[in-house]
């Protein structure tokens, strides 16, 4: 239990750091971005909206920094992250409609890629030295390709050249969103190519990690023992794989941040209406409240995912319940 409490503590501190950095950045960057921003806005938005944007940065700049910081926290607790300059809507509302897309796309691809990579890695580790090893350089190459580049190439080849997959967006414009089969089918159809590109880019990492652990594990005494006992091969492999997967799961919580960072950009390539696409537009238009809101939401989501991964690890590895391994 104490281990879980410790991890939770780390994540709480992380969340606090992220929120504080988010508050401090606009205040301390050269050229006073907040002042510039509000100056730019004067004739574009209503006074109420300006007030809301100011509040999301911690109120008017005349107050002391501490008082601004407290105001900022108060606003966050009320879910007020300011108003997007370009979209003229509350940041929380905009994010609310973008998050399900991203969580669906990236969550699904990450889970798929983890299981596929772990399975392939276990296979490679067990049959080490065989022809299958030639997969390794290929996997390394795919690991080094930026996610968005692979997405772009896939879009060009399978989308605009071969027309195997629809090109852009999350669903066909001819169907109306809703809980009916036409929409869901279109959703799946349009999701295939983005999911495949994310899985292809991220599978190699899991695979190589699992292979290395499996090779180390196969040389353990218990594996030799179970072979000597005459256990069926299937059972031996399973026992080795079960032990080898633990470090992968322990690393899962660390890798999620990297995978999410990479996968966000895949949304840009495919014009997928998620957080990544939103982020690009926010950056291009210097929409600071939106950029900051997106950063905060991504960080908190990644932290929540980390916590889930850690809990899975504790559930699977009894040793962690007694000793502070992490």
């Amino acid at each position: 239990m104490t281990v879980i409490a410790r991890r939770l503590g780390v994540y709480l501190v992380t969340a606090w750091v992220a929120i504080t950095v988010n508050f401090l950045l606009p205040h301390f960057m050269p050229g006073n971005p907040i002042q510039t921003l509000i100056g730019k806005l004067q004739d574009n938005v209503t006074p109420a909206e300006i007030r809301s944007i100011q509040l999301s940065f911690g109120g008017t700049l005349n107050h002391g920094l501490l008082s601004q910081y407290l105001t900022y926290w108060g606003q966050l607790f009320h879910g007020n992250m300011g108003i997007s300059i370009t979209l003229s809507a509350p940041v929380s509302t905009i994010l609310g409609s973008a998050i399900p897309w991203t969580v669906g796309l990236i969550g699904l691809s990450t889970i798929l890629s983890f299981f596929l990579g772990t399975f392939l890695g276990a296979l490679l580790g067990w049959t080490r030295g065989s022809r299958l090893d030639s997969l390794i350089p290929t996997a390394t190459f795919f690991q080094a390709v930026p996610y968005f580049f692979l997405g772009t190439v896939m879009l060009l080849i399978f989308g605009s050249q071969l027309h195997w997959f629809p090109e852009l967006g999350a669903y066909s414009i001819s169907v109306t969103p809703g809980w009916h089969w036409n929409f869901i089918a279109s959703l799946i159809r349009y999701g295939e190519l983005p999911v495949i590109s994310i899985v292809l880019s991220s599978v190699a990492g899991w695979m190589l990690g699992m292979r290395n652990m499996m090779i180390t594990m196969v040389a353990e005494d218990f594996v030799l023992m179970s072979v000597a006992m005459g256990l069926p091969r299937r059972k031996v492999v399973w026992a080795a794989a079960r032990n080898a997967v633990l470090p992968s799961i322990a690393n899962l919580s660390l890798a999620i941040g990297l995978v999410v960072s990479g996968a966000l950009l895949v949304e840009l390539v495919f014009n997928y209406p998620g957080v990544g696409d939103l982020l690009l537009n926010a950056v291009l238009n210097e929409d600071y409240p939106l950029i900051q809101g997106i950063f905060l939401v991504i960080t908190l989501t990644v932290l929540a995912a980390n916590l889930i991964a850690d809990l899975a690890y504790f559930a699977l590895d009894p040793r962690t319940r007694t000793a502070a391994v992490l």
Binding site: T14, M29, F295
Partner: protein, 323 residues
């Protein structure tokens, strides 16, 4: 430093070759470029040809020249960020592992926090607040990237330092009265080198990815040519849908090649650290030459000798290979 021989597996040779090639390109690339990358005087959207090896952009710029010139900015930022991040991770990781106690708790918390914050979104927020002038400064960008990329190395180095601190040979030097500095630099440091090298390679890899990502979403100065900016222009001119593959494939393949080279080198280091991986990483030809069975045998880790007749050189067991 005789024991630090990296096994000459084909992976390492290939990795060294690729990385070496791109380092050379970093130095001479801009001089080799046939045209000014900003020159828009050519016909737009030409496919690859003898005159323009990689074709031209929709503005009529020579893509081959852009790729050559872009190598420098990309590699320089990656190297700067990788070096700074490694210095940070050595200071934090080794201090935490060697000193222990409250220092360790504090520093570990610090690196855990930086590990948990997703790096690229943080980079994007910081970078979006940078004045446009600083966005073209390799040092500024390098420092920011290194801030988000040091934590992993610190964690690995801390674990390695902690495990080394309690080894018998370190204990022995302490008992015979060697000074702290000598223990640190002659006993502990050489055994940290493989882990350090691997973390440096990993950080450079991360930095390339981070820099290219920033450039791709338009957060670095578009007046500095790097592979990410090229992808940015290709994407914003809809090159993928217009079938202008020659526009975005060269920078992308370059990024992937550098990454592959670094990862292959890392493989070599892994195999050096972990003898079991070393054996598994050998090709069947190498295996036969060393007198090992063609297929690795279950439960056995054969001693891999540098060359058969001489007595085996004992590698210091480190990292995941040691239990």
């Amino acid at each position: 430093m005789k024991s630090l021989r990296i096994p000459r597996s084909p992976k390492v040779v290939l990795g060294l070759g690729i990385v070496g090639f791109f380092i050379l390109l970093t130095i001479v690339g801009p001089y080799l470029a046939p045209d000014n990358p900003n020159n828009t005087s050519f016909a737009p959207n030409l496919g690859p040809s003898g005159a323009h090896w990689f074709g031209t952009t929709s503005l009529g710029q020579d893509i081959f020249s852009q790729t050559l010139v872009g190598a420098r900015a990309t590699m320089v930022v990656a190297l700067v960020a990788g070096l700074i991040a490694t210095i940070l991770s050595v200071s934090v990781g080794v201090a935490a592992g060697y000193l222990g106690g409250f220092t360790d708790d504090g520093l570990s918390l610090l690196s855990n926090v930086f590990l948990a914050i997703p790096g690229v979104p943080l980079l994007i927020v910081i970078d979006s607040y940078l004045p446009t002038g600083s966005r073209s400064n390799a040092l500024v960008i390098g420092v920011i990237i290194s801030l988000t990329g040091w934590a992993w190395g610190a964690r690995v180095l801390r674990a390695q330092t902690m495990s080394l601190r309690n080894r018998d040979f370190v204990e022995a030097s302490r008992i015979i009265g060697e000074s702290r500095a000598r223990i640190m630099f002659s006993e502990v440091a050489p055994n940290l080198l493989p882990v350090l090298a691997s973390s440096l390679l990993f950080t450079i890899l991360y930095s390339i990815g981070a820099y290219v990502t920033l450039a791709y979403i338009g957060l670095t100065s578009t007046s500095v040519w790097n592979w990410g900016t090229m992808l940015f222009w290709a994407q914003s001119n809809n090159a993928p849908l217009a079938n202008e593959w020659y526009w975005f494939v060269p920078p992308g393949v370059c990024i992937a090649m550098v990454g592959t080279g670094l990862a292959l080198l890392n493989f070599g280091i892994d195999e050096f650290i972990n003898p079991r991986l070393r054996e598994a990483g050998m090709t069947s030809r190498l295996r036969r030459r060393r007198g090992l069975p063609r297929r690795p045998r279950l439960g056995l880790t054969p001693v891999v000798r540098a060359s058969s007749p001489r007595p085996a050189r004992t590698f210091v067991k480190t990292g995941s290979g040691a239990r």
